[in-house]
């Protein structure tokens, strides 16, 4: 279903960053030094239809970039991504709303970007608000929302928009225990319903329970590939080896 073939991605950061025309004009004759950061280095793997695959890795190992490339938000520098089905990415959902609009209008914006038709949004809006437990705040502008409320709303919209392939970044890291439970339940439904799921998580427990298979990314390469439990254990080893003992800490 998802075929990632030799995907590489580098970001180059100049030592002195020029973001403005003024800097470009005045810096014309100064030599520029770039630091090239290889975020992904010839990553290849495959996800079969109906499979749930987890991706683990420390901060900066390239997980989020990989998901963005698969979702088509970033283009890869090299390599090819083939996805044989419509994708619903659930990425960085905690941030990014129009703060001046209320929940309903923001649902319309995010929903239509995620490929829902106006009719689908209209008929699903009560479900979405109920899932996020925000029905009583439907007309409140997003700027007055707490970050937890905003994130819940985003997940609720995305779960409504789910199509064949689902890409999840840190899905179970949001909200209180009750919301987490609802997410997990919805997630099990989707998985049982034959959706293909790619899931990034820092929680060894989640990867071990939910994933058929998992990948461990380190420094932009796939360090290992195997059953969820094995990869989760290796991930924990990796963290302790680097003196970082808080697997849940990530943003």
């Amino acid at each position: 279903m998802i075929q990632v073939d030799g995907v590489s991605k580098t970001f180059s950061f100049p030592d002195v960053r020029r973001e403005t025309l003024r800097e470009h004009v005045f810096g014309l004759f100064q030599p520029r030094h770039f630091r090239v950061l290889t975020v992904l280095d010839a990553v290849s793997f495959e996800v079969k239809a109906g499979e749930t695959v987890g991706i683990m890795g420390r901060n900066g190992s390239g997980k989020s970039t990989l998901l963005k490339i698969i979702a088509g938000i970033y283009p890869p520098d090299q390599g090819v991504v083939r996805v044989r089905g419509p994708i619903t990415p659930i990425l960085e959902l905690g941030v990014g709303w129009n703060p001046e609009l209320d929940a309903i209008d923001n649902i319309y914006l995010l929903g239509s970007v995620m490929g829902l038709s106006l009719g689908e949004i209209r008929s699903g809006i009560d479900d979405i608000l109920a899932f996020a437990e925000l029905a009583s705040f439907a007309n409140l502008k997003l700027k007055h929302y707490s970050s937890g409320m905003a994130a819940r709303l985003a997940y609720a919209v995305a779960f409504k928009a789910v199509r064949e392939v689902l890409i999840l970044d840190e899905i179970f890291a949001v909200g209180d225990a009750g919301f987490k439970l609802r997410c997990e339940e919805r997630y099990r439904e989707l998985s049982a319903g034959g959706h293909t799921i790619l899931l990034v998580s820092h929680s060894p427990k989640d990867v071990a329970t939910f994933c058929d298979r998992a990948l461990l990314l380190e420094g932009g390469r796939i360090l290992m590939e195997g059953p969820g439990k094995t990869v989760a254990d290796r991930y924990l080893n990796l963290l302790t080896a680097h003196g970082d003992t808080s697997p849940e800490a990530d943003s």
Partner: protein
């Protein structure tokens, strides 16, 4: 113009659609949502908020009118030409300003899912278009009060000019919307350009006061031909000659083509620069 699946080597699904591409109906829904929420954000969801958008050029008109109608007292139809010029200019200035920052402002959507981002640039001009529609009514009223109701044919030709004007604004918006992500001070540069451009276009002064040999240079600035030709059909009731119309069509095509070219080149990586 949209990013297609082929660009990043994404295959097609069973239905032959590319993932992330949208059907016309979905795209229409997205466009409508963007227009609706833009209007709401800009004018706080009320028609009285809309009043402010009209107030600015109206006040400018009255202010300029009260000074320059004495300076150009001998110029026939000065106030009619002034109001047409000012309102058309306002559309240009507002449209390019919001168009340039459209991708930046909607960045929170661009990083969420893959969708044709040109729709964001296209719909960013909607507020300026709504204002333009109101300006049109004001201009028509003003012409009627002056006893110069334009013929239906003249209004039709005026609309053709407006369509070209819109495409010029769209072209500039497409190009600058991706460039500003790399050059963060492009809006400052554009502020200067529009400030100078206000005087390059013969808005407050009749073009005839400048020597003939300079006219050519004024006409290179796209708003100039649109403003001049619109005045000609609406106020004088004459139609610019074929050569003039052809020139405007070429300017429109060139600006739009340049915008589309720059956009296609840089839009792919837009999300990385947000």
């Amino acid at each position: 113009m949209a990013l297609t699946g082929a660009d990043i080597g994404v295959g097609t699904d069973q239905l032959g659609r590319r993932p992330g591409s949208m059907t016309g109906r979905h795209l229409g829904g997205l466009a409508w949502t963007l227009v609706r929420t833009d209007f709401k954000t800009r004018y706080h969801g009320t028609l009285s908020g809309f009043f402010w958008a009209l107030l600015k050029p109206m006040v400018l008109f009255v202010a300029l009118m009260s000074v320059f109608s004495y300076v150009f007292a001998s110029t026939p139809n000065y106030s009619l030409n002034l109001i047409i010029g000012l309102f058309l200019w306002d559309f240009f200035a507002e449209g390019t300003k919001t168009g340039m920052t459209s991708l930046q402002a909607k960045g929170f959507l661009l990083t969420k899912a893959r969708f044709p981002s040109w729709i964001v640039v296209l719909t960013s001009a909607s507020n300026a278009l709504i204002t333009l529609a109101a300006f049109f009514l004001v201009i028509m009223t003003y012409l009627a009060l002056a006893g110069r109701v334009p013929s239906l044919a003249a209004i039709l030709i005026f609309f053709i000019y407006l369509a070209q004007y819109f495409l010029i604004v769209l072209g500039i918006s497409l190009g600058t919307s991706v460039l500003i992500l790399r050059y963060r001070d492009l809006n400052q540069v554009w502020d200067v350009v529009t400030q100078v451009g206000f005087f390059i276009a013969p808005i407050v002064y009749p073009i005839a006061i400048l020597p003939e040999r300079l006219h050519f240079y004024l006409y290179i600035w796209p708003p100039t031909p649109v403003i001049q030709f619109s005045r000609e059909v609406l106020v004088s009731g004459t139609v610019p000659n074929m050569k003039a119309n052809l020139y405007l069509a070429c300017v429109t095509a060139a600006v739009l083509a340049a915008g589309v070219f720059i956009f296609r080149r840089y839009a792919r990586r837009a999300a990385e620069y947000l």
